[in-house]
Subunit: 450 residues, 4 copies
Amino acid sequence: MRQSLNEKCAVVGIFNHVEASKLAYFSLHSLQHRGQEAAGISSGDGERLHTIKDRGLVTQVFDEQKLATLKGHMAIGHTRYSTAGDDSILDAQPVHANYDLGQISIVHNGNLTNAQEVRNKLIKEGAIFQSSMDTENLIHLIARSNQGKLKDRIIDAVKQIEGAFSLVFLSRSKMFAVRDRFGFRPLALGRIGEGYVVASETCAFDLIGATYIRDVEPGEMLIFEKGKAPQSLKIFDAMPKHCIFEYVYFARPDSEVFGKNVYQKRKNMGVQLAKEQPIEADMVVPVPDGGVPAAIGYSQESGIPYEMGIMRNHYIGRTFIEPTQEMRDLKVKMKLSPIRELIEGKRLIVIDDSIVRGTTSRRIVRMLKEAGAAEVHMRISSPPTTDPCFYGVDTPNKEKLIAANMSIDEICHYIEADSLAFLSTEALMRSVRAEGSEYCTACFTGEYIV
Amino acid sequence: MRQSLNEKCAVVGIFNHVEASKLAYFSLHSLQHRGQEAAGISSGDGERLHTIKDRGLVTQVFDEQKLATLKGHMAIGHTRYSTAGDDSILDAQPVHANYDLGQISIVHNGNLTNAQEVRNKLIKEGAIFQSSMDTENLIHLIARSNQGKLKDRIIDAVKQIEGAFSLVFLSRSKMFAVRDRFGFRPLALGRIGEGYVVASETCAFDLIGATYIRDVEPGEMLIFEKGKAPQSLKIFDAMPKHCIFEYVYFARPDSEVFGKNVYQKRKNMGVQLAKEQPIEADMVVPVPDGGVPAAIGYSQESGIPYEMGIMRNHYIGRTFIEPTQEMRDLKVKMKLSPIRELIEGKRLIVIDDSIVRGTTSRRIVRMLKEAGAAEVHMRISSPPTTDPCFYGVDTPNKEKLIAANMSIDEICHYIEADSLAFLSTEALMRSVRAEGSEYCTACFTGEYIV
Amino acid sequence: MRQSLNEKCAVVGIFNHVEASKLAYFSLHSLQHRGQEAAGISSGDGERLHTIKDRGLVTQVFDEQKLATLKGHMAIGHTRYSTAGDDSILDAQPVHANYDLGQISIVHNGNLTNAQEVRNKLIKEGAIFQSSMDTENLIHLIARSNQGKLKDRIIDAVKQIEGAFSLVFLSRSKMFAVRDRFGFRPLALGRIGEGYVVASETCAFDLIGATYIRDVEPGEMLIFEKGKAPQSLKIFDAMPKHCIFEYVYFARPDSEVFGKNVYQKRKNMGVQLAKEQPIEADMVVPVPDGGVPAAIGYSQESGIPYEMGIMRNHYIGRTFIEPTQEMRDLKVKMKLSPIRELIEGKRLIVIDDSIVRGTTSRRIVRMLKEAGAAEVHMRISSPPTTDPCFYGVDTPNKEKLIAANMSIDEICHYIEADSLAFLSTEALMRSVRAEGSEYCTACFTGEYIV
Amino acid sequence: MRQSLNEKCAVVGIFNHVEASKLAYFSLHSLQHRGQEAAGISSGDGERLHTIKDRGLVTQVFDEQKLATLKGHMAIGHTRYSTAGDDSILDAQPVHANYDLGQISIVHNGNLTNAQEVRNKLIKEGAIFQSSMDTENLIHLIARSNQGKLKDRIIDAVKQIEGAFSLVFLSRSKMFAVRDRFGFRPLALGRIGEGYVVASETCAFDLIGATYIRDVEPGEMLIFEKGKAPQSLKIFDAMPKHCIFEYVYFARPDSEVFGKNVYQKRKNMGVQLAKEQPIEADMVVPVPDGGVPAAIGYSQESGIPYEMGIMRNHYIGRTFIEPTQEMRDLKVKMKLSPIRELIEGKRLIVIDDSIVRGTTSRRIVRMLKEAGAAEVHMRISSPPTTDPCFYGVDTPNKEKLIAANMSIDEICHYIEADSLAFLSTEALMRSVRAEGSEYCTACFTGEYIV
């Protein structure tokens, strides 16, 4: 259970399907966990692009009537997480503009590390910026490129930006998908009927009935044009540095991400955690839902029984009612509740995927102790989160990352656990069955790529 | 995952607390799983009763301002499941009325088996009925009783009704809790500060910081009066026939119901199921969330690994968008999705709590097969549901109960499973560690009490 | 412009039309000025009655889908003004009940003067009351009547009640309209196709395409039955005492009320006012919209030019924003604004229909003076409102009626006008071209009928 | 009553007031008649600009909490009429951008005649356009100007645009107001406390307690800077061509527009109309509310009595219910209804401000005839509308302007009136007591300025 780290968004693109915007809608729906603040779709009918975007969940932004206005055989979509600002509606995507080659729409998952410099340079040259989104840079770069063709202009543009980007573009007649050379953020390619889909996670494919082909490669550009097979261009030399946190926490367990299944990676982390950080106890209890696969792995490896000692309440809704004096830790308790009779007097190994600020972990430990747990041993299926992310994850400042400011012992004391252990970075790498070099682990190691 | 059987409601009562209506609000919130269509609270300040009720979830019906108008040190509340009718708002509870002794408010969980006869008799005597709720009978019976005191009138009234009832009444200065002699529906008693709480399930106590004392006994009336300990009257001889389906499906796993923890009973059912219905397979997979505890039990007993092979999506929302041709079984797929890579080529034991119409089970089996499962063995942690409930559960007609119309083999064929087995009634009884006579199992046996 | 006196409601009934509930909907819409808090319709298809009612304007309570569920060839409807209470939804009409003769629905415009006594008597006999509406009495009286037929039971019931009532009843197959012997509140009969309409005002007929036949007579009951002409029964001796305030303020100017057109009566009041209360001035200015017809009459009689010196703003909406220091009398100014250049330095005769508390009049006078008016002479087209109404108008307590507590000179001083005059009761009677005895003028004279 | 011609917007600016955004809010509220589709405010606190804009009425877009985030001592605001498009939210104003001099916000009332050329030129130079608003041009021109100071850049920019513009700009520390050389659209200057206000109409001043100083002159730029008196620059030679339709229909009667009161101008038109187009009749009846002042003028000049023979219904709301067969012309009838008894058998002179498509006039004539009018003589207080507007009014295409396609006789026949006459352009000019050259009358004459 986490409220501290958030993926910034999801992207989808549909090409060559009579109900392209409807497929985009359902795809976004299955990617809703990657961003709940705003949603948008641009469609193209070969003549014009049509865009609708607004604050809210996918199901709130769109209805049958609005989807009907998003005509055409191709569509791109976006859901986003955002800190509420003055102009938040203007910060929704797709970003749409008219420029010298006509109309263009873009969706972007990731974060540019040189966004401010590029922006300043563009502003000096007379560009105006109407939002606070990095993505606006891209349209300016494309509009100002000397190249004649859009394809070449996109290449020109993405070569001037740095950082993390999984991008999908829509022009009057084509769709383009581009991924940065590191492949920080995922982007998968699928097939549906005679058409194609790209999406941040493959769970989108499953819902709409598409089949997974492969990932868009780091540094690759795919061009979708009617009547042709997708054309692939290598525009950067690939240097894979996939975001390890997609496996640790963000992606849906049923998704293929970076070509591999998330649930199994997450379960492996639990297995490795059991090997590295064994302890005697009566049961293994996940913090739902994030800790479930790792807890299953820990239990299988350790032989200690798995129990759903904490249940998650599904009827939460937003309440603005102030609790009474007797009601402590209401926010956590409305979401999570211990199975008192199960854990009473028992020694628990509690598995969570990560600790960011430590406040939620403390509330959970307290809740379990109040419910009678004899011992609470926290086991975290990832290393201490010590450094902020600059590649598209919304992390708190370093001062608020508990592991950047306390030793493990201090954290253990702070969260009031009987013991606390994290997975090592090496074991994490073993879990994903990769040589470490393929993944970005900067949030655990501080080793940033650029 | 079920949409066919529904608990009809939840009741709460708070006595002697300065924030009685707020405690009722949070209690109802934790009982939201027992009814999502309407919610209501009546409070009493010693002078007047105040009532607010409306369609919607607890968090939608109430806000801080409305709760502020529900003044007083005592409050009763209700959430309800209902089939939408013309007047559904009038069918919300509490039912409130003025009669010769002043004001009264009632909340009711259960179903009266002689409601129509009592109603007809009352109507013949000149009574008018403004709703379709059984509960309206009770106020008429109380208003027409010859007894002088409310306590005696309530006794008079409940002696004329038959069926299932866990009732809480509020008068100008007192609160009464009454449970039918069979104790069909649960009702627990708790303590908070200097005050008392009654609620359908103890999960309400945990959220508001109350402690469980005991159940209100079958046939017992409790009278709460300021400055006195709760007074207990035995108004019927107890003949316990607790609703076994509370353990099978309705109640929250973290609740004490009929004095025992639900999660553990549900897990026991899984253990018994493994003993009665073993089968060789690669993994045990629950249908979330209902099947989770039994699947854990089955796995522990059989030694076959437990895996979350089906995940539940939390961002559902209501969508009214028509799916495309490619999208089959959308409704199930938006809620549940298989971990394709985990189950591919594997033999699965899939655990669900019950089968009502069979349509959802069929969709789940198909989904798993499409995702590559080699074998799907359905194991149900309760006996075949063959008979409708007359004691407060919303069951379909007998014609729609698949187990009333097909043999187990036929059901297995219908849901396209490789094998199908149910828990026997005897094993179900062993699971709850009771002699069968304490429970109502009419929905499995057709043996109705009355 | 008034916010102090309010009609309590409007009723309609439609009989023998394939789209009865739709006609009820549009009729209520044109009667919206008589009550904006709640709306409801019951329809009957010969088998069952269907009822929908809720808080809000007619257009908010109903949509095409809801109207579709209100099946049948007959329908009754209601809009209501209400002081918001705990249970306001329960106080919406139609009141619907099941009783020994089956189903019944009632709508009521008016106020019973012996409601409390009847209620107390009924309660003593064992009746329960679920709302605070007088109307609930009627259903009890009908349900308890010894008569065999509904017609006779209704007669039985209305003979036990006193006060003002224009009632429409719906049973399984018939519709009944009843008006008290005094005819306090209006009720008109019209024809549409092969069917009939009754409504509080004839403006409802104009919208739906019905034609006015005559009023339901004071003391008359009309019975509508399929295949028969409406049957008329005289159940009370008529003693007409029509509410004069319908002419002064409530009814729409385009309506026939008590058989005569409202606009013309209101204009006559202005003519009489000019005769009784002449004064030298530069222009006659109405307080819109209520004062318009009387101001036209005053202008025509006096020869002093009519000018729309105060305009009414139509885009009001509700604002909860606190004004700044500079902004005085915001509430009035958002609704009304003076034509500064027109009135600057001018002597104004300002015509309003009545003064209840005096606060709005004071704000208007101040606003006109600030805008430069040299003199403001208030002329009120009705006598001083000195007494509360017990027959269906929501008046403030006598302590809050300014004319009950101050002399005309004192009121003039309070509202800061240069002069103030009211129409005499005699002249008011001349305006409606009636011998005074036909009208209830209790609010001006304190002479109550009963 | 019109739905065919619409003012495109209103602008306001507040400088040097502690509650600047609140004053902007109330000012916009009183200008709501100039645009109901979207509203927005940008405020400045000397450091940053803050912007909120959205679809809806002013009261729907803003609440106390949102206004609180619009900090600072200066604010500009906008309401807009718009044809709903894909991106309508992006077409709301203020338009806000970051550029090389920092932040800027603009609001614009009017229409640029060379917008497309400027846009094309800018796009060729690499600019991107994210909305379909002319206003976006301005920010680009400012951002690309070679001038150093914002003041000079604004001058640079507005010299490149043609057409109608009343503009207000907000920068980090200053506010600028600019009006095109023709002064097509109004813009008035007022004082509030130590601060200043500019607004499209003076009715905004009245509500917030500001006092009118003078109009911003055609061709003038006003610069508002803290601690200084507003600085006036003549940036164009003034060639006044005020929009005559502001007097005919758009502006509120209580406003000063182009320095003169609207109500009186409109009444003068009625006087002139009576002189030019007299006819024998029984009464003069306005089409409310637009026709009221001219009808008063007509009545006073002709001596024929003024009567409110058509009333306007204030409880309209939106209804989506389909009418029944009997209900013709529902849309007009829900808004307007005749006083049947008043007009029956009478000869009416009906005064309206203009005829655009003719359909509404036809419905009104029919309605009056059905209500029994003996004769209906339409008199229009402006000349035939023969030509579309390019200066900020939303007019239909020439094919839909009835007067562009039919003779007056033909129109009279079409609308089923007994006679029809329009005011001559010369008389219209006399009404506004101006030599014609000061006004743009292109919509009547086809003589466009540029």
